[in-house]
Amino acid sequence: MSQRSVACTGAQVLRHFGDLADQWQPDWARFPAQFYPIWQHRHWQRCDLLWVGTLASMAARVLTKGIWALCNPRFVPVGCSSHGHLSVAAAQIKSPQIQADINATDKILSQPLETEDFFRLSELFSLKDLFDARVHLGHKKGCRHRLMQPYLFGCRLDQDIIDLDQTVEHLRLALNFTAHVAYRGGIILFVSRRRQFSHLVESTARDCGEYAHTRYWQGGLLTNAPIQYGPGVRLPDLVVFLSTLNNVFQQHVGVRDAAKMNIPTVGMVDTNCNPSLLTYPVPGNDDTPLAMELYCRLFKITVNRAKDKRQQMELLHGLMTPPPPPTQSS
């Protein structure tokens, strides 16, 4: 069985094994694994190795089908029917209302994925806006990180200049991804350790209804969350780094931790930063107030736009009752 990362809950797969799921849940399945993908990935790897032998091979086949089936929810009934006595009662009678809701939700979630720029985020900024906000200015040649070489346009009087064509492209991808995450109701965490912009980042997060962390990063925040916050806590689905360095010019711990916990990251990387662990690095200046205000504004607009779009889609497909009209105050 290939060791690919699984994007579904271990508990869901276990339910396919009927009474096994009913009676017992291992520690790592008690916490829904979409919040701890690393757990279920590691354990499924181990499970792959252990399920050998007569029962194990049958279970492994079932497991493969089960995982594949869950990743394609449309094919669940097909997958279930071949399992025989090991499958849970596939003939669950769903009321037409719930079925309609499920169809509507599927449509809402799949429709944005069909268009290239569903949220029209390329209109939000242009290369000239980035230039005016001094996004192209990097640090001196001596501070340059080796891995930032491909993103540089050149070096003038010892100061690195970032290639704004690439920045535009990366920023578009990053904003698009952020919009999709916000559209699906994901938790976005804005992180920056620059004291100068801490208030700005926190205000941005508050204004778009998301979360911020511009303070001292406690070690087990992402990796030890159920102990620190309480069982059942939900981790962020996206971490946006408005500056990837901390106060001593080392890479922020959150970059590594998010990579460990399989949480995608978006980050503004300056010429002295390491872009390798970020999912969507965006080369750009992170020292100028003007540039930071531009980024915050862009992210705020993106998230708000995505959430509004989601509300619109839900209203359109009849999932949500429209809010009562505001009372007239005379």
Binding site: W24, G185, H199, H213
Partner: protein, 386 residues
């Protein structure tokens, strides 16, 4: 093969004893092979923290308490509606008399809020999204307070910039008057914020508040008056020491002479003194003259010192009653009583002078108890080398 498979699966899933039954149903008739030592079952109980109670459990306890309260009132034949906590305590002490010395071990019936430790409410909603935007920092209340302070500082600075641009900046605006108050201490901040505050966090908080309070417009009226009032929430008023002294009021007797009464204690002596005005400076102790009651000069000096310090030696008559203790402690008790009685005849400034001289401070020294294994309170038995 299947048996070994079961055991390895069992060791993977480890602690649950129920897992074996699941494997039985799946593998149907595999015998229970898992034999693990008690070391595997031992949990780190300390790491789990204090016991947690769910909201439903606490609610059920509250309902049971209310019903029990009514039953108890019925049993005692009292009004079920207005049965207070004191009535409950009294009834329980009557129905369950206990000779235990430890009060916390006696039978108890209190509201569950007082018995079960307060739990932090769950910080996120049904969909898992936390309520507070700084939830992931770990100390949301403290950091949101810092955020708010900084927002106020920025607002004031921007306002100053605007006024300066228009040329309306008045240089006579003074900062907050912080003379008679102090910043709250770390424990008080923890009480406000309901979170652990480290020393470093507390220092940062103080720095930020000092910065806000030091801004010129912070104390002015108008919109900034809000800031001033808000900052004073984090200050504690200091009370002047002397104003707390209780002053014995002057009374007048039948002839119209003013007199005041006060009491004093020293070691095991108790004394009560009446100071009368318009006399010739005579002193009487327990009915006899001062000279005959206190033959030793030191005792007479102690008794007369407050009057000499205040300069009223020839004016006031002293009538003292004293009991208990020895000669020196009786003299000290009378001296304290005279000082207290004198306060009614003196002004604020003279009272402060007396306090500074130490005349109003009761002497806390009492005889230290003897300890077992020692000769006296401090003296040890003779040490012998062999």
């Amino acid at each position: 093969m299947a048996a070994s498979c079961a055991r390895t699966v069992g060791s993977l899933f480890g602690k649950c004893g129920t897992c074996s039954s699941n494997i039985n149903t799946i593998t149907s008739r595999l015998s229970r092979q898992i034999c693990s030592s008690s070391a595997l079952h031992r949990k780190n109980l300390a790491a789990a923290g204090p016991e947690k109670f769910t909201v439903e459990f606490i609610q059920k306890q509250v309902e049971e308490f209310n019903i029990g309260k009514r039953h108890l009132a019925n049993m005692m034949g009292e009004d079920t509606e207005n049965f207070t906590q004191e009535d409950i305590d009294r009834s329980i002490a009557y129905l369950f008399p206990s000779g235990l010395f430890e009060k916390r071990a006696r039978p108890l019936m209190k509201h569950p809020e007082e018995i079960f430790p307060r739990q932090r409410a769950v910080q996120w909603g049904e969909d898992g999204r936390p309520f507070h935007f700084l939830f992931y920092t770990g100390k949301q209340s403290y950091y949101s307070l810092m955020h708010e302070i900084y927002a106020k500082i920025q607002g004031l600075e921007r306002q100053q910039d605007r006024l300066r641009a228009k040329g309306l900046l008045s240089s006579d605006a003074k900062p907050l008057s912080l003379g008679s108050s102090r910043w709250i201490i770390k424990e008080e901040l923890e009480g406000i914020v309901m979170e652990t505050v480290t020393d470093h966090d507390y220092q940062r908080f103080l720095q930020l508040m000092e910065r806000l309070a030091g801004l010129p417009q912070a104390g002015a009226e108008g919109a900034e008056g809000g800031e001033g009032v808000w900052v004073l929430r984090f200050r504690q008023q200091l009370e002047a020491q002397a104003s707390r002294q209780a002053v014995a009021a002057l009374q007048a007797d039948a002839q119209g002479r003013a007199f005041s009464t006060a009491e004093g204690r020293r070691k095991t002596s108790n004394s009560s003194v009446v100071l009368r005005d318009g006399g010739s400076g005579r002193a009487t102790v327990n009915g006899s003259e001062l000279l005959s009651y206190f033959p030793v000069f030191q005792d007479r000096e102690q008794v007369m010192f407050p009057l000499q310090f205040a300069g009223v030696l020839g004016r006031l008559d002293v009538e003292a009653q004293v009991s208990g203790g020895g000669r020196s402690s009786q003299a000290g008790a009378v001296r304290l009583a005279i000082s207290r009685a004198l306060l009614g005849f003196l002004s604020e400034r003279e009272m402060e002078n007396m306090r500074q001289a130490g005349l109003l401070t009761p002497d806390p020294r009492v005889r230290e108890r003897d300890k077992p294994g020692q000769e006296g309170a401090r003296r040890k038995f003779t040490w012998k080398k062999r």
